[in-house]
């Protein structure tokens, strides 16, 4: 089935004009799945969770954790409030997919979030959207207001005893608030510092109550699974990482943009057929498969690589958010890496020592190399610093900052060696 991607009909953002409008969405079968789940006695919350677990929707926010499994970690309801925090902070460089959902199909996400809420007996959903998305925050707020007006949100939805609220919350421009635990801190009105785990959000999340954090795109997949069943969903794309994915493709490419295709697409198909090849007919030098923190792959590593978790792991990278960045053969990887490093230096929250001071150390060393003042030993220093940062912090930002450095330096070492000063000279 992977071969017929050319006939693939988009599911998350179908080709229907004005789908963001409530009437259009309802006309196209919108909120039918919610009705089915809420009114059909066959669909108990456990059953919905099991369907989603069975469908193996893997989180689209970067970690690729099974959504249904995450839902099943929630403790039994005790009468108190329980929350979903829908993560639309989307600040990883190279990632711009949730924006499309907010703009073109917000109700699919809302429906998915309500179904997820039903499955986990949630009382409120917080939609956390990055602050720079001012227009999209307004679009999302409009969609939520429409859903309230239609009675899909609020008290006693569709005449059942299930009630849920949804709040759209604006971030304030911090990358770290896309990390699930600092997103919760931020929602609580505090400084965006990631929390120490355990306790995990399912035990003690927002305001100390059970909370599940899901990506916007992950929740948008839920109505599709409910509609067509888990077997149908599992048949889409790669076996271990099924479903439709919004590929956000950018960089030195002829037709950058968001493309919806199944998982497991050949990278070469995406570059050459979907996006019309590399700009100017050049060769691919590097591919960053899923946002700037995923390890870059060399152009010659891409043969047969598919965009799913397993294939990318074998190739030496990660699926991440499927925000693909393509760099052509003229790119200087030193400049590229410095820019990525600058981003993480700027965005480190400053809580843990290895990240707070390590990101700055990396960036300053890279400036030195970029300015032609670096020495060969600085390359080893960079790798050493990565070892000192990886896995040594509360959240994964230190890893996110260290991986691009480690893999760019090791996979594109010749670029770096060209830039550093010769410190060993031939005698004769």
């Amino acid at each position: 089935m992977l071969q017929d991607w050319k006939n693939y009909q988009p599911l998350l953002i179908p080709n229907i004009p004005n789908l963001h409008r409530m009437d259009v969405y309802e006309k196209n079968g919108g909120y039918e799945q919610l009705k089915k789940v809420l009114t059909d006695s066959e669909y108990s919350p456990e059953k919905v969770t099991n369907i989603v677990k069975d469908a193996n929707i893997r989180g689209r926010g970067g970690a690729g954790f099974s959504a249904g499994l995450k839902w099943s970690f929630m403790p039994k309801p005790d009468g108190g409030p329980r929350y979903i925090a829908a993560n639309g902070d989307e600040s990883e460089p190279g990632t711009f997919k949730d924006r499309q959902i907010f703009e073109y199909n917000p109700h699919l996400f809302i429906e998915g979030a309500i179904i997820a809420g039903y499955a986990m007996s949630i009382t409120a959903v917080y939609v956390y959207i990055r602050g720079e998305y001012r227009d999209w925050i307004n679009m999302m707020q409009k969609a939520v207001d429409d859903a309230y007006a239609k009675g899909y949100l609020g008290k006693n939805i569709l005449g059942t005893d299930f009630s849920i609220d949804m709040y759209v919350h604006s971030g304030a421009g911090a990358y770290i608030c896309g990390e699930e635990s600092s997103l919760m801190e931020s929602l609580e009105g505090k400084r965006g510092y990631p929390r120490v785990k355990p306790p995990f959000p399912a035990q003690k999340g927002l305001w100390g109550r059970p909370t599940t954090i899901n990506n916007i795109e992950t929740l948008a997949n839920v109505p599709l699974v409910i509609k067509n069943g888990s077997a149908w969903y599992k048949a889409i794309g790669a076996e271990t990482h099924p479903g439709p994915v919004l590929y956000g493709i950018s960089g030195h490419i002829n037709k950058p943009g968001i493309y919806e295709y199944p998982t497991g697409m050949l990278v070469s198909d995406l570059i050459n057929e979907v996006c019309g090849g590399v700009r100017g007919g050049k060769k691919v030098k590097a591919l960053i498969p899923g946002g700037s923190s995923t390890p870059p792959l060399r152009g010659d590593q891409l043969e047969g690589v598919r965009m799913d978790a397993d294939s990318l792991r074998t190739a030496g990278s990660m699926m991440g958010t499927a925000g693909m960045l393509i760099l052509d053969e003229d790119t200087d990887m030193v400049d590229f890496l410095w820019r990525v490093s600058l981003f993480y230096h700027h965005e480190s929250c400053g809580q843990c020592t290895p990240c707070r001071d390590g990101t700055g150390f990396l960036e300053k060393t890279l400036i030195k190399i970029k300015n032609g003042e670096g020495e060969m030993r600085d390359l080893d220093l960079l790798l050493d610093l990565c070892t000192q940062m990886e896995g040594r912090t509360i959240c994964a930002l230190a890893d996110a900052a260290a991986w691009p450095v480690r893999y760019t330096v090791t996979r594109f070492r010749e670029d770096f060696e060209k830039r550093v000063k010769n410190t060993v000279y031939a005698l004769a």
Partner: protein, 578 residues
């Protein structure tokens, strides 16, 4: 009993201790910065790494799985764990820097990162010598620096509030100060501002850090970022003597350390006592060091035709004896003091009981509502419960005034209590009466006295106090008088300068020693002049007399107070009377 193996040594534990605290409790040194036993655990400094693993338990055989050599199979956590946030579990195996190269390297790594943006100017830093970062860098840090770039520069000498000054560059962002204002003093005045390596603690714009407990943040700051506006750059730690004491500015009796150099008290810091003050003390208690140094009464003073003149001790003793012998015991009014120690109060009552004066009066200094329910009590004096325990008559200020102005009273003996200064009486009330005042500091009352006997203050002799909660505590002499010698008094601490210096060194002077003696010593001398010793040769004798005569203190001695870190007594029922 649950067991844990740390560096291949077996320890037993109960409950769910945190591994770091457990190691510290068992005397195992381990580096850390952000952890503080009385605050929440953010695990943000990433210094206290250990390797941790748990044994693999086989539910089917109901036993631990063993390998070929019969050892338990240990499943280690994939990442290094911060010991501060790791709960001990039965059978857990911990590897620290002593046994694990990985942990040793991780400690080095984190310290390297901390030092990347930390100024390396220890010689001019006020924290040097008592700096956890300095100590741990020497113990666990890297040999040199690989950082060849410009450090991040941040503001220096920021006056956060009236008492605390911040050097933002030195801050290592452990957030102890922020957590202190959030969790202990609950003023929420501090927060971390900015992001990444540019961040540092600050108040909200336009706000002052004027928390009544603000100086505790200076104590818990693991670097020289927060310094006391009053103490900064006054002295090096290694020049000072650190002596345990009790705060006497307040009924709570916070445990303190008194830091002296050349017999001047330079600062007061809190000393841990779980029963009384935990790790904290209010700011104004620290100001008390001035009272110990300044405005002291040195040498006795007598009133000669309206002029105060310094007198010899012989003359003072004679004046006192004659004045007392001139009047009937029924014409003597003895006023104890809730400010003075048990020893002083007991000595004065013991002496006058012999003369047939059976009643000793005192008036407490309690202002209802002036406390905060934490470490600041309504009671402004440290020993109100002590006076009660000694059976003194507790009277109101008005009652005391009427007693003093009573025509039948011809001689008034008052133990250190500024009765005029705090408005109980005025100087005119004492006219025509002999007024002897035992005090350590000049004040309005001492000015009005006919005889001023200079007595030691709480840091010059052993003084015991019973605080508002009925806890009996004592101080240790920290400061020499001209009659005491640090090298001969085994209770007094010896600092570097005392131990290795001579009296000819230029940092030693006699000018800071006060000419004063404890109350009991003066009264013992008087008694001996009258050929009837009270039997007081040292503070311990006085306390022995107290504990054998006062039922509620029966069987207590200084050793017991030290051992128990304060003895909890039954508080008498008249506590509610104000």
């Amino acid at each position: 009993m649950a067991e844990i193996f740390i560096d291949n040594v077996r320890y037993e534990f109960e409950g769910k201790p945190l591994v770091l605290q457990f190691m510290l409790d068992n005397g195992l040194d381990h580096p850390f910065f952000c952890y503080h036993p009385s605050l929440s655990i953010p695990a943000n400094c990433r210094q206290c790494y250990v390797e941790a693993g748990t044994p693999v338990f086989n539910r089917e055989t109901n036993s631990y799985e063993l390998d070929e050599s019969g050892e338990r199979v240990i499943r280690f956590f994939p990442k290094l764990m911060t010991a501060c946030s790791l709960e001990a579990s039965d059978g857990m195996v911990i590897k620290t820097h002593r046994t694990s190269e990985l942990v040793k390297r991780a400690h080095k790594d984190t310290l390297e990162f901390i030092l990347v943006n930390h100024p390396l100017d220890c010689p001019i830093c006020d924290q040097a010598g008592e700096c956890p970062l300095q100590i741990q860098t020497y113990k666990y840090g890297p040999e040199g620096s690989r950082f060849e770039h410009k450090k991040v520069h941040k503001p220096k000498r920021i006056k956060l509030g009236p008492r605390v000054i911040l050097d933002a560059e030195r801050c290592i962002n452990c957030t102890r100060c922020v957590r202190f204002t959030d969790e202990i003093s609950k003023s929420h005045q501090l927060t971390i501002i900015s992001r990444g390596d540019k961040n540092y603690p600050a108040t909200a714009p336009g706000m002052e850090f004027d928390d009544a407990y603000s100086l505790n943040t200076v104590d818990i700051c693991p670097v020289g970022a927060l310094t006391s506006a009053d103490f900064r750059f006054k002295a090096r730690v290694w020049e000072m003597n650190q002596t345990p004491g009790v705060d006497v500015t307040n009924g709570k009796g916070c445990n303190i350390d008194v830091w002296t150099r050349d017999n001047l008290v330079l600062r007061i810091t809190p000393r841990y006592n779980a029963k009384v003050n935990d790790h904290w003390m209010p700011d104004f208690g620290r100001e008390d060091y001035r009272r110990m140094n300044e405005n002291r009464i040195s040498r006795p003073e007598v009133n000669l035709d309206g002029d105060k003149i310094k007198s010899s001790w012989n003359n003072a003793e004679l004046t006192f004896t004659e004045a007392i012998e001139d009047v009937n015991p029924s014409e003597i009014l003895v006023i104890g003091s809730a400010f003075s120690s048990l020893e002083d109060n007991y000595a004065i009552s013991a002496y006058f009981n012999r003369l047939g004066v059976n009643d000793v009066y005192f008036t407490p200094h309690i202002e209802a509502g002036s406390g905060d329910g934490f470490l600041i009590s309504d009671d402004h004096y440290p020993n109100t419960n002590g006076c009660r325990a000694l059976g003194f008559n507790e009277v109101s200020a008005a009652e005391l005034k009427s007693k003093i102005t009573d025509k039948s009273v011809k001689a008034i003996i008052s133990l250190e209590d500024d009765l005029i200064g705090r408005g109980v009486i005025n100087a005119g009330d004492l006219k025509g009466k002999f007024f002897a005042y035992f005090g350590s500091n000049n004040n309005e009352t001492s000015k009005a006295a006919d005889l001023v006997v200079p007595i030691t203050c709480s840091v010059e002799t052993i003084s015991s106090y019973i605080n508002v909660d009925g806890i009996l505590q004592r101080t240790v002499p920290a400061k020499e008088t001209i009659y005491t010698d640090r090298k001969l008094n085994l209770e007094m601490s010896l600092g570097r300068l005392d131990r290795y210096g001579t009296k000819f060194d230029n940092w030693v002077s006699d000018s800071n020693k006060v000419d004063c003696i404890p109350t009991w010593e003066f009264l013992e001398r008087i008694s001996r002049n009258q050929n009837s010793s009270l039997g007081f040769n040292e503070s311990g004798d006085v306390f022995e007399a107290i504990s054998s005569n006062i039922e509620s203190l029966l069987g207590i001695d200084y050793n017991k107070i030290d051992e128990l870190q304060g003895v909890q007594l039954e508080i008498s029922s008249n506590k509610t009377e104000v």
